[in-house]
């Protein structure tokens, strides 16, 4: 009797077993963690090959099949998200080895929490059931809160508690939405949603789920919890939270938009307006932020806004294409923001603080981390040839073709704002006339910088891979076409 493995099951179960092992054996946690990440990445590659060869693949768990049972489904988009998660996760894990090397206790808990987080995220990307999604986002929420407060400082705990409240409330709004879906349809799988007629309770369900997810995504004006939480967490945790965790809820919004009969142009405009608000407000706050990590966190708020603008860029008619722009921006932000948070953490560690105004007073210059930060900024600003640029290009192209000039204007304003706030940081990196002590020479290579640098280079280089990337995420994903 041989066990038949499926890559989808492995993508969820490997991190789960890894988390269990890492929790039971704290001393070996880091090696278990890295091995698990490597194995999970392998499973995702296996899955990607399957999807590439066969198109979307399904797995009816327990053999029951939806709607009674729960199906796992992988198509281009979900594999792209899985790949983003495991690749970024792997590199962040490597970086975590170094940045947690002096904190035994943090290290001991980092790995089980992070692997549980990975379980939850992979589960989200493969799920096709609304209630299952609710459970998954709770797994993510608890593990993410644990990571947020890993360093145990008072600010981190305060931020973590706010995050927890927002997260639970978001999940409960989602659950209430699930209740309304059940009330109306009598089933909870995506396929059931796809053919549903629009009714009052379905609109209520959608509104509840959207608001709940927006709370988890930190979409303006529900972003209040994010900057403090992401800025005060320890660097690898920040990278995971900002780069990956937010994306899980974003992905659910994309899926819901795919399967829900989207009711109106007005709603899409509203979503776009919220995104525009985030772009502007996040940009202004980033300009005013005094600390490096806070600036980076506010830039996450702005970037999330941009993703929603991309989603709304061409109205209801353009939705069949717009999601691709949003997906590209999601991938771009995931890679670049992880790199940026890791780099910011390195800079903070080396210099000893992260007050932007005084960064240039330090005689120590972590050159490579600063370089990494700059590369990540290029992608986040959206300068060519980075993936961020390609995403922004798709956004503006669609908006322009549809004559939605206001979204073009918002994007340009957001770009200028991001130039302004990132140049504050770059200026501090390159200023030398206020240093008290002689500046050390070239800092040389540090192994801790390897992971963030790789991520930043990927954020730039993936821009040139955009065409194959796009054709991959289109596999098995007939957006806007009811199944």
């Amino acid at each position: 009797m041989s066990v038949e493995l499926s890559p989808m099951i492995l993508a969820i179960f490997l991190p789960l077993f890894g988390a269990i092992a890492a929790f039971i054996a704290p001393r070996a946690a880091w090696s278990i963690g890295l091995a698990t990440l490597a194995a999970t990445t392998g499973a995702v590659i296996w899955l990607a090959r399957d999807v590439w060869a066969k198109g979307a693949v399904m797995l009816p768990l327990g053999g029951w099949g939806a709607p009674l049972g729960i199906d796992l489904r992988a198509d281009g988009l979900s594999v792209a998200m899985l790949a983003l998660t495991s690749a970024v996760g792997f590199l962040v894990s490597i970086a975590a080895l170094d940045s947690l090397k002096d904190a035994a206790r943090q290290r001991q808990y980092f790995w089980p929490l992070w692997l549980l987080l990975l379980t939850g995220m992979n589960g989200v990307y493969l799920s096709t059931d609304l209630f299952n999604l609710y459970v998954m986002i709770e797994v993510i929420a608890l593990a993410a809160v644990g990571l947020t407060v890993l360093n145990g400082t008072r600010d981190a705990l305060r931020a973590g508690l706010e995050y927890m409240y927002a997260s639970i409330l978001g999940a409960l709004l989602f659950l209430m939405g699930v209740g309304f879906v059940y009330l109306h349809l009598g089933r909870l799988d995506f396929a059931g949603l796809a053919g549903a007629e629009v009714s009052g309770s379905l609109i209520a369900a959608m509104a509840l789920m959207f608001v709940g997810l927006a709370l988890k995504i930190a979409l303006f004006p529900l972003h209040f919890w994010l900057p403090a939480a992401h800025a005060n967490a320890t660097a690898p945790a920040s990278a995971l939270l900002s780069g990956l965790v937010v994306k899980a809820a974003l992905y659910i919004v994309l899926r819901l938009a795919q399967y829900m009969p989207f009711p109106s142009e007005t709603l899409l405009t509203l979503v776009g307006l919220m995104g525009a608000g985030a772009v502007i407000w996040g940009g202004i706050q980033a300009l005013r932020a005094e600390r490096l990590k806070l600036l980076v966190a506010w830039s996450t708020v702005a970037q999330i806004g941009l993703i929603f603008v991309a989603f709304a860029r061409a109205g209801e008619m353009g939705l069949t294409e717009s999601w691709k722009a949003a997906a590209l921006l999601i991938l771009a932000h995931g890679v670049a923001k992880a790199a940026m948070f890791l780099a910011a953490g390195r800079i903070k560690d080396e210099i000893g603080h992260d007050v932007i105004r005084d960064l240039d007073r330090a005689p120590i210059r972590p050159t490579l981390a600063q370089f990494t930060f700059a590369l990540a900024a290029i992608s986040l600003i959206g300068l060519p040839p980075s993936l961020g640029f390609i995403g922004k290009w798709s956004l503006m192209e669609g908006a322009m073709a549809a004559g939605y000039w206001h979204w073009v204007a918002v994007t340009m304003a957001g770009t200028l704002l991001s130039v302004a706030y990132f140049s504050r940081v770059l200026t501090a990196f390159l200023r030398f006339d206020r240093v008290r002590a002689p500046v050390g020479e070239h800092q040389g290579w540090a192994l801790a910088d390897a992971a963030p640098l790789t991520l930043a280079l990927a954020a730039i280089g993936l821009g040139l891979m955009a065409a194959p990337l796009l054709s991959f995420i289109e596999i098995g994903y007939p957006f806007g076409v009811a199944q």
Partner: protein, 96 residues
């Protein structure tokens, strides 16, 4: 006036009350409690939804879902309470 209607409205009301608490309550403990009220409200909706016609044998699936929801909620509550305890300890240390 059937029980499902009565309790359905009751659930919606409890959810709304919880929402008010989650947004307005200032005490940390009270906010946790408010969130728990929201979850009970959502539970009501699902249990009521199980009462499809004919109401003789309610649908078991939502029942299972609500049980799952209750366990998930107690986990989340425990984490939130642990955060509150730790935070309060730290803040009390600061005052001294």
């Amino acid at each position: 006036m059937t029980p499902d209607l009565i309790y359905g409205l009751c659930g919606v009301a409890v959810f709304g009350i919880g929402l008010v608490g989650a947004l307005c309550a200032q005490d940390r403990l009270r906010r946790v409690l408010a969130l728990k009220l929201c979850s009970v409200g959502a539970g009501f909706l699902l249990v009521v939804g199980a009462w499809r016609t004919p109401p003789a044998t309610p649908d078991p699936v939502p029942h299972a879902l609500v049980i799952t929801g209750i366990v998930v909620m107690v986990s989340a509550t425990a984490v939130a309470l642990a955060l509150i305890r730790r935070l309060q300890s730290l803040e009390a240390d600061d005052e001294r």
